[in-house]
Each structure stands twice: as C-alpha cells, then as structure tokens.
C-alpha cells in the first residue's frame, strides 16, 4: 500500500492557467509546433504505407522487409553511431538484442503480410494505434478495474469498429482474390500464412484483419517488453539501430536463397530506389524520430490522440484518392505499372469503422479522470487532498478461476441432488454439442437451430445448479438466515422460464397453424429419439430427487423434463397439446408453492400443527394472550417464527420462553424468536419516548391485559 501526497491534486497552485482542472499542463502554444510536426509525419507515414502496398505487388515481402531494414539500419547507424558512442554492450545484451530483432522481424512480417491482404487503408486503421490505446483496451476487457464507463465505451467502440471491418466491409475485390490459384504464392512462407488463414475459414481480407489485430497486440507487447532492454543498452534509438542491423544480418541469407531460387518480377531495381527511399524515410525513420521526440515533449496520451486522428483521416482520404489522377504526382515516384484498379476501395463499413476507431482512440487515450481507485483519506496540512491507492494486488487476492471452478465442482459432486443435476446437464450439453457439430457438418440448419434451442433450455439447468451451489454458502451479515432461500427463488425463476417457453411454443404453433412450413424430416427421427432418451435418463435420475417434499431443486427438474418433452415434440405439430398440458400442470403447482414461500405464507404443511401449538400455548399457566404470530418457511430447511406473548407479572419469563419454544419446535418451527411481555414492559414503553400513537396502542394493550386478569392479579 503506498500513499501519495496529493497524487491527484485538483487544480494545484501551478495549474491555474488555461487548463482549469486536471494535471499541470504546459501551455499549449509551445506544443503547437510539435503537434503540427506529428500530424505531418503521420500524414507522410500514410503516404509511405500506400506506396509500400504498391511496392509489395512487385517485390517479394521478405525482400521488401530486408530492404526496409537495411535502409533504416544504414541511416540509424549513421546518425546514432551505436558503436562509437555509449558504453560497450555485453554478450548477454547482444543475445537480448538478437531476440529483439527476431521479434521485430516477425512483427513486421505480419504487418506487411496483413498489408498485402487487406490493403493500406484497413492496415492503417487497424495497426496504427499507440500502445496506450491498446493497453487501456486490454485492461478494460480483461481486468475489472477498467476505469469507468467512458473506457468501457471506448473499448466497445473499438470492438464494433473491428467487427464492422469484418462483417460490413464488402471488399469485393479481395473476396475475388481469395480464390487464389495454386502456385500464386511466391514462397513457402506466404503459402504457409495463406493456408493458415484458409484454415480459419474466412476470406483473405478478413484473415488480414485478424492478422493485423494479432500483430497489433504483439507490437504492444513487444514495445513493453523492450522498454527495459532499451534502458540497459542506452536509449531506444541505439537499441533500434542495433536491432535493425541484427535483423538485416538475419534476413540476409534468406533473401539470398530467395533471389537465387525464384525469378524476380522486378524489371529494373533502379527505378525502385526512389519509392524505397520514401518508404524507408516516411514509414520507419521519420515516424520513429518524431514519435520519440513528441513523447518526450508531450504527455503520452496527448501524443496518442493527436497522432491517431491525422493518420486515420489521411488514410481515408488516400483510400479514396490514391488511384485518382490527382495523386499521380505522388505516385509518379512509383514506376510500377499503373493499373486502374479498384481494389480495397472505400466502403460504408470502412468509413463507419474509421469513425469508430477515431472515437475509440480518442476515448481510450484520454487520461482516466478517476485515475486509480484512490479513496480520499483526508487533507494534508497545506490543504491538498490525500488519497489512498490500493494496489491491484490487494483487489485480486481472491482465488483464480480454475481453482474456483475446481472447488465448485467438488462442492457440486458432494451432494446427491446437485450431482444429478450436474450429470444431467453434462449429458444435455453433450447431446447439444453433438447435434450442433453434426448440424454444422451436414450443413443442416434445422439441427443447428435445434441445438441452440437446447442450449437455451440448458440455461435453466445451469441456474438450478448454481442455486444449489449457492444455497450451501455460509450465512453472512446480509443473508442472515443463510442462502437456502435462493433455491426457492431459482425455482420461481424456473417456473417463469417454463412460462416463457410455453408462450413461445404456443406462438410458434399458432404461426405454423396459419402458415405451415414444409418440414424437413430428414434428421427428425434420430434427433427426437435422442432427445427422448436424454429426457428419460433425466426423469430416471430425478425420480430420487422428487421425494424431497420441498426445496426448489424440484423446480429445475421439472424444467428439464418439460423442456425436453417440449423439445422432443418441438418439430412436429402434434404433441404440442400434450406437452403443454404437462407443462401447465407441473408448473402451476410448483409456481404456487414458490410464490407462497416467497410471500411468507404460513407453511401449508404445518398449518394443523401450528394451530394446535398455538392452542396449547394459550393454555400455559400464567399466559394471558399472544399477538403477532408470524410463521413462515424461509428455505427448505428453515421454518422461522416470531411471536409476542403476554404473561402475568408473577411468572418467570425464561420458563415461558422454554415452554413456548418446546411447543413450537415440536410443531416444526426451528428458528424462533419469542418476545415475552409483562405489564411492566408496556409501562416502560409508554414511559420511554415512544410516539403518541404507540403510547395509545400500548395503553390499549394494557387495558386489555388488566381486563383479562382482573381476578388473577396479585395485590
């Protein structure tokens, strides 16, 4: 636990300027030139990427990366002089740099392969996110302390944007290209990647989107991991220079083999010098230097925000105009054949996703206002607020998920009831998945939808199981009687569930009566037989459970039975009446019981006993009367009761309590509270500062007491 003095000082004395609230800010005028520079660099980077897409059409990807790394390493070694300046690098560090270079190569391979797959526009949208955006995205998705609703919204926007690219982007041309003929690929590597994507069963450009998302995550992880190394080596720039150099050496043999074995599509390497130079400068060097400078001068969040906006906008603009004659001046450098291609053009989906990307980058990169979950603990002598930051370690000290699952499984298997529900659930799920799998295999929509149906029904079982698990938890301050009542509530919800299912079956059957669809009876028989078998097993398994007179595990059993009988008949129109009747009957009784328990009714099965018990109580010696008798079932095992008893002044209260407790315990009440009142109590109460009405009520009670025991009262 660490304490920070004024960690989040609101409007500190220094920050009174333009910023208003918030961290102390450098005046924006001084930053303007950096922002302009950053925007300009990002624009150029977009140009560079479009250029490199054109280049990649003629140059093999490994060669391309090799040339890129070579050029970058050349310039950086020239500028940084990594060998002549700084401390010497140990052998250990060289190994680390080697690893760094390998990782860097893989990431750039993924990146440029994604570029060939889905074009520069989509690559820019997906890949050009700064680390902070991705990190806060991941922290929203995978940790509980996301940082408020704004971040959640940002994460949702990001996901929507990716989904837009995946689903609503009809990149027709790429779809056409997806049917790539064999032998289209130049090397084993690209072929491997293609087959990997083909294995996922998505079109190429969608595969590219996924690949780029993966590459983005890798990049962020890579940057985070290399931070320490860059400090060790003596600066990020030096590390970059060395790493590029090492990767050039790494790629060198591969490129040589490649250029020997395959014939190149390039007519003249000389004409490609200019485009390569621009790409090297715009994409690698300029971007790197400006980024590192801006991150020094500005906050990271601001840097990310100002960086992402221009690059997305310029990506959109170039995506629209790249093949247009206006940009021919820009393209003129590229002597590659100028086809009138319309591949990877703008589509509605891309525009929408670009908007969402911009929004999400904006939201996710903004510094979270709440900061960490600091709690205000007081004020320092100067008047600045002091916060107490609990580290994440304190919040996540609870057990891990696998362990939790293991423990709960153990608990489930301990008890007979829940074990049976569990086995039945497993059987059900197995059947469902077999059905789904077979449906997918044979491409039968009926089977798949049936599988979903069953999954829907399984949720009732899951709930019943969870309730059975929870009902065994220890009583807490809030659940003072224990968690047993949850089973009853889940029984009630199960009843509602059945009602909903019955309603939908009814609706469907009405719809089918009006407009009968042609049934595909192809798979009907095996499925319904299978369903029936599962159902029968369920009934057998639960026939033991049914002799429990109460408790809501019943509810879940019922649900499973009925959902299945409904299920087995689900596809044919006959039998609806039958299953309906049984659903109705079982449900009605069950629901009424659950309702009565939830409404704290006097338990019907104890009515007689309680009545006789109350009569017995009245005959106790010294007892005048009783009032407010409340008896209710709390859960399957707890029947609670409270009663107020008035006695004459000469009897011992504890004896009365003992007698009454005995009588009521015999009647089945096992959680009792008995309030024994004498006349003195009412006098005390009226003496204490009770309200006027209470006093009035008390006096009435007293009157009746007196009236009753006129003769018996001693004195």
């Amino acid at each position: 636990m660490e304490e920070k003095y004024g960690g989040d000082v609101l409007a500190g004395p220094g920050g009174g300027g333009g910023g208003g609230l918030g961290p102390v800010d450098v005046s924006s005028a001084r930053l303007t030139k950096y922002i302009v520079l950053l925007c300009f660099t990002k624009l150029l980077k977009a140009v560079g990427l479009f250029e490199s897409y054109d280049l990649l059409k003629v140059v093999h990807i490994v060669q391309f990366i090799f040339i890129l790394k070579l050029g970058t390493a050349f310039f950086m070694v020239l500028f940084q002089k990594p060998f002549s300046s700084g401390k010497t690098i140990t052998k250990h560090q060289w190994i680390k740099i080697f690893k760094h270079a390998v990782a860097g190569c893989i990431i750039s391979l993924l990146w440029f392969f994604g570029l060939t797959l889905c074009g520069p526009l989509r690559t820019l949208l997906l890949f050009e996110h700064s680390d902070i955006v991705v990190i806060s995205l991941l922290s929203v998705l995978f940790t509980s302390s996301g940082g408020g609703p704004a971040k959640t919204r940002g994460a949702a926007f990001f996901i929507i944007a990716v989904i837009c690219l995946l689903l609503f982007d009809n990149d027709d041309l790429m779809a056409k290209m997806a049917e790539h003929p064999e032998g289209h690929h130049d090397s084993a590597l690209t072929h491997m990647l293609y087959t990997a994507i083909g294995f996922l069963g998505v079109a190429d450009h969608k595969g590219g989107v996924l690949l780029l998302v993966l590459a983005l995550c890798c990049k962020v992880g890579f940057h985070t991991a290399s931070r320490k190394l860059s400090i060790d080596v003596g600066g990020a720039k030096r590390l970059q220079a060395l790493s590029h150099l090492v990767s050039v050496l790494l790629l060198c043999p591969w490129v040589i083999v490649l250029s020997v074995t395959t014939e190149s599509k390039v007519e003249s390497w000389f004409s490609l010098i200019m485009p390569f130079t621009t790409v090297i400068f715009f994409v690698m060097i300029l971007d790197f230097y400006v980024d590192s400078m801006c991150s020094v001068k500005m906050e990271v969040s601001k840097c990310a925000r100002y960086g992402s906006f221009p690059i997305f906008i310029s990506a959109l603009l170039f995506g629209n105009f790249w093949t247009h004659p206006i940009t021919d001046q820009l393209r003129a450098m590229n002597k590659a054949a100028h086809q009138e291609s319309t591949e990877h053009v703008l589509s509605g989906g891309v525009v929408v996703s670009a908007v969402f990307f911009i929004l999400s980058a904006n939201i996710l990169s903004s510094p979270s206002k709440r900061g960490q979950k600091g709690t205000l603990i007081g004020y320092s002598p100067e008047g600045t607020p002091l916060y107490n930051f609990m580290g994440d370690a304190f919040q996540h000290s609870s057990q891990s998920i696998p362990r939790f699952i293991k423990e709960s499984l153990k608990q489930i298997l301990e008890e007979n009831d829940s074990r049976q529900i569990f086995y039945f659930l497993c059987l059900n799920l197995l059947f469902t998945f077999v059905e789904l799998f077979y449906g997918v295999l044979t491409n039968s929509l009926g089977l798949i939808s049936d599988g979903f149906h069953m999954l829907f029904d399984c949720s009732a079982l899951v709930m019943g199981l969870f309730a059975a698990l929870m009902s065994r938890w220890k009583a807490t301050r809030i659940f003072s009687y224990g968690y047993g009542r949850i089973e009853i509530l889940s029984g009630f919800i199960n009843g509602l569930f059945l009602m909903v299912i019955a309603f939908f079956v009814f609706m469907e059957s009405v719809a089918r009566l009006i407009d009968p669809p042609e049934l595909d009876t192809h798979m009907l028989t095996p499925v319904s037989v299978g369903g029936l078998i599962v159902n029968l097993i369920g009934i057998c398994a639960f026939s033991h459970g049914h002799n429990h007179s109460h408790g809501a595990s019943q509810g879940s059993c019922h649900s499973s039975d009925h959902s299945h009988s409904h299920h087995a008949h689900g596809h044919s129109d006959h039998g609806h009446g039958h299953s309906h009747g049984s659903i109705g009957g079982g449900m009605n009784a069950n629901m009424r019981d659950a309702c009565q328990v939830l409404l704290l009714r006097l338990p019907p099965e104890y009515e007689k006993e309680l009545h006789t018990a109350l009569e017995k109580i009245q005959k106790i010696e010294g007892l005048i009367s009783y009032r407010d008798p409340h008896f209710w079932r709390h859960s399957a095992s707890v029947v609670a009761g409270t009663i107020h008893i008035q006695v004459t002044s000469d009897v011992l209260e504890q004896r009365i309590v003992q007698q009454v407790t005995g009588i009521l315990k015999d009647a089945g009440v096992n959680n009792l509270t008995i309030q024994v009142e004498k006349e003195a109590y009412f006098q005390h109460m009226s003496g204490l500062s009770t309200g006027f009405h209470d006093v009035l009520a008390m006096t009435k009670q007293m009157e009746s007491m007196k009236y009753y025991k006129d003769g018996t009262y001693i004195m």
Binding site: T152, F168, F456, I493, D628, A640, G687, L688
Partner: protein, 461 residues
Amino acid sequence: MGTIHLFRKPQRSFFGKLLQEFRLVAADRRSWKILLFGAINLTCTGFLLMWCNSTNSIALTAYTYLTIFDLFSLVTCLISYWVMMRKPSPAYSFGFERLEVLAVFASTVLAQLGALFILKESAERFLEQPEIHTGRLLVGTFVALSFNLFTMLSIRNKPFAYVSEAASTSWLQEHVADLSRSLCGIIPGLSSIFLPRMNPFVLIDLAGAFALCITYMLIEINNYFAVDTASAIAIALMTFGTMYPMSVYSGKVLLQTTPPHVIGQLDKLIREVSTLDGVLEVRNEHFWTLGFGSLAGSVHVRIRRDANEQMVLAHVTNRLYTLVSTLTVQIFKDDWIRPALLSGPVAANVLNFSDHHHIIPMPPLKGTDESNPVTSTPAKHSSPPPEFSFNTPGKNVSPVILLNTQTRPYGLGLNHGHTPYSSMLNQGHGVPGIGATQGFRTGFTNIPSRYGTNRIGQPRP
C-alpha cells in the same frame, strides 16, 4: 388477539376469487385508467406482433417485448392498489406487501428471459440471415415508442418508481450519465434533465427506438440485413442491463436479506443496544425488508442474570423501533433455573438482590400506575447506573440526565455523579427502599461497563 382461525379453506374456485378481487380493485377510480391503458397496450402489442411477423425483423420483436413488459408493469400497478386495500390474513400474517415485490421481480425476470430468447434467436439468425422488409418497421417503432413513453409518463407506477430509484445504476444509465456529464459541462442547463440519472425505462425506450431507426436506415440504404440482428442483440443487452439491477434489488427483498443501505444504521443501533445496562450479547439478528421500505426483524439478547428483563426488553425495543417496525426481541438468561442458594458469595449477593428486585419494583409501579402513566423511571433506576446511558429516563427528569452525562467521561466520578441522581430520585418520588438498594448497588457500578466495553468490538455472524 385471541383465537385465530387458521383454517379457512377457500370455498370458491380460483377464477371466482380472482373475479371478486378484480371487482374490488376496479371499484377504485384510479385503476380504471390503468385498465384502459392495459386494453390499449394489448391492441398495440397485437399489432406490433403482427408487424414483427410481416417485417421478419427480430429487432422489432425485441422492442415489442418492451411493450409487453409495460403490460406487466401495469399489472404490477394494479396489484399494488390491491395490496393497499388488503389487510393481513391469518395465513399471510405479514400482509400482502410482498406481492408487490414479487410482481416487480417476476416482470423484470420475464423481460430478461425474453431478452435471452432474443439472443438465442439472433444467434440462429447469424447463421442464416433472412431478408427484412422495412415496410412497417419504422411505423412499428414509433407506435411502440410513443405508447411506451405515454404510459410511462401518464401513469404513476409506485412500485416501479421505487425500485428504479432504489436499485443500483444500470450500465446504460451509467454511460448516459457519463456522456451527459460531459455534455452538461458545455450546456449547464441540461443537468436537470440528465443528471444524476435518467429514468431507466424512458432511457431504454429511447435507446431501442434509436437502434431501430439506425437499422431502418442501413437496410434502406444498403440492404445490410445483419444490422437487424445486431440491433436486436443490442436491445436485448440493454434490456438485460436495465432489468438486472431491479431484479437483483427485488430478489434480495424476496430473499429476506438485510438491505445494505441500512446496515450502518443497524450496526449503530445494535452497538447501542449491546451497551445497554445488563445486556451481555446480541445475537441471531435477522433484519429484512417486508415490502418496499418497511423493515422487519428479530433479535436475541442475552442479559445478565440479575437484570430486569422487561426493562431491557423495553429499552431494546425502543432503540430498534425507530428503524425496524415489525420487531421481536427474545430475552434470555443463562442458568436461570439454578436456584438462588448455590454459587459463590458474589453470585449469591447478586441473586439476593435480583430476587429482591423482582419483588420490590411491583408496589411502586402499581402506585405510580394510577397517579401518572409516564413513570417507568423508578423501576429503571433500581438497576445499576448504565454504561451507555439510559438517557431517556422519562420526560419529567431531564435535568438529571444532563448531570449524569456530564460526569460520564470521568469514569470513576460516576459514583459522585450518581449520588445526587439517586437522592434526587428519592426526593422526587419518595419511594423508600430504593434508596437503600441504591447504596448497595453502587458497589457494582463497574460491572456493566466491563461487559459493555467487551461487547463493542465483538464480530457478529
């Protein structure tokens, strides 16, 4: 009081009874309006379901379920009127207040189950997206929206208003609040509408209509039929988000849990109770909400063997009564059967006294009973001076309390503070005998304080 007839078997059929209760409710002028709205709702829902069928849009279906939920909320409103008219019956000894809670719970859960069904359907639709006809889509949206808003604004639905206030914020509300907070930074005037949080029902109606409009637009422009499924999922998720906190709240009431917001107050009261004179331990505390709002509870209090049960009972009840309206307190002592003759000298003393004490207070009580009704004071002072203070010793002796509380901090000064107290009492009531015991009892002044301080830090189950 007296015999309660537990066995009054329902004579009439279920529907007959229902009709009777319905007549009872319908007699009220206010329920006419609800019935009228219910009738309109039914026709509206019928039309919407028809349109859902004709457009084949699942998003509209999801939105129609909100209209059906409206019907449930109207029924809940009727039930709350009925509950107000009904008195507790022998079987339902707590009254029917809980029916309201149950109705709210059931309708929110039903809405969520409907949303679950929509999710399932949309999962199926992702596999094979059917064609959507936009013909009645927009009409249906606006009919449903206007009707929902109209119902929401014109009918005062007490139970739902309460639950939506008391339940925790849904994620939808949270996001809207977050957005509108930044919006209100620009236009401060809007804060009255949007902040601190919007009505969840109005919010979900508007958001659902918005999603449907987008669906309509995209389908019209580009035939993106998948948008329909996506917005159905969005509406279903929003329904979940809106209904979940409410069903959790009402479910917790049904589960007889202690509402978290009163725990602080309850703790304070129980601490007070456990420091009362003679109280050794408070246990088996069960506090729960009966309907929306009123607390019920029971508690067991263990007291010292020499303490006066009725007085402790009165004080405990008096303390807790401010918060808990339906309260039962069981007082118990250990070893109460053991006769007074056994045990060591100290215990014997105490027992002697306590026997004494059981008999002695009666005469003065009887006497004061006739003269003025507001005197439980003499009996109360016959016990040792309190640790935590019995700071309400009747209305007529307030100056004494001041003196007493002033001397409290000095601990040992208690005895000094005590002397005027008792002497004054002696003067005031002129009851002989009490003074004598008083002198005897000052020897025990630190007993209660010892027990009292022990009890404070005790963790409760």
